[in-house]
Amino acid sequence: MSHVAKVTLKIKDLDALAEACRQCGLELVRGQRTYKWYGRSVGDYGADDLASRHGHAVTDWGKCEHAIRVQGNDRAYEIGVVRDTAGDLSLVYDNWMGGYGLEDKAGKGLDKLKQFYAATVGARMLLKKGYNVVRSVVNNNLVVTGTKA
């Protein structure tokens, strides 16, 4: 080992996000400016990850730069791709009842989608650098390994 770095994930690459969506049974719809949710806030969610605490004001709920939908499930809520307080892309969604099938694909808290996104970005970067890339699953962690002589 030479060094070990920990990284807090940020969504930066829409192409990689589209590929990660595809792998999860989702679809990134670029330019769709609204995402499906309950439609109005009832004030029943107060956790730290509440979108309005991270730059997505309640008055903007339902609006987005792009949207992610569940393939083959028109009843499911959708994910909004929005900007957070730092101007970075962020994923927001209505998690009531798991988004009616959304979390089945994207994972609770969208963790599965984020995991696949990071793996896609990592694999693409390593391939670009000339590495042989292998993707595996170890204890529910996605592992992307690049090797070269």
């Binding site: 060094h3 920990k6 990284v7 963790d111 970067m125 390593l126 592992v143 090797t147």
Partner: protein, 63 residues
């Protein structure tokens, strides 16, 4: 053989580890990967990193 491992847990936490590099080469190799993924929050050098950079020694002697 040079090896870069990117591990992502179920919560989306990312750990990047390198092996087989000389000294600071590993940092250069993964800098853009780390930037593409997000914000680096910690970075630990391993014994291999320090070994290949070489150690400076100062020796003083009093007459």
């Amino acid at each position: 053989m040079k090896k870069v491992t990117i591990e992502i847990d179920e919560a989306g936490n990312v750990v990047i580890a390198t092996a087989g590099f000389s000294g600071g080469e590993c940092l250069k190799e993964t800098a853009d990967i780390e930037r593409s993924l997000g914000v680096t929050t910690s970075d630990e050098k391993t014994p291999e990193f320090h070994k290949t950079l070489g150690a400076k020694q100062t020796v003083s002697a009093k007459a």
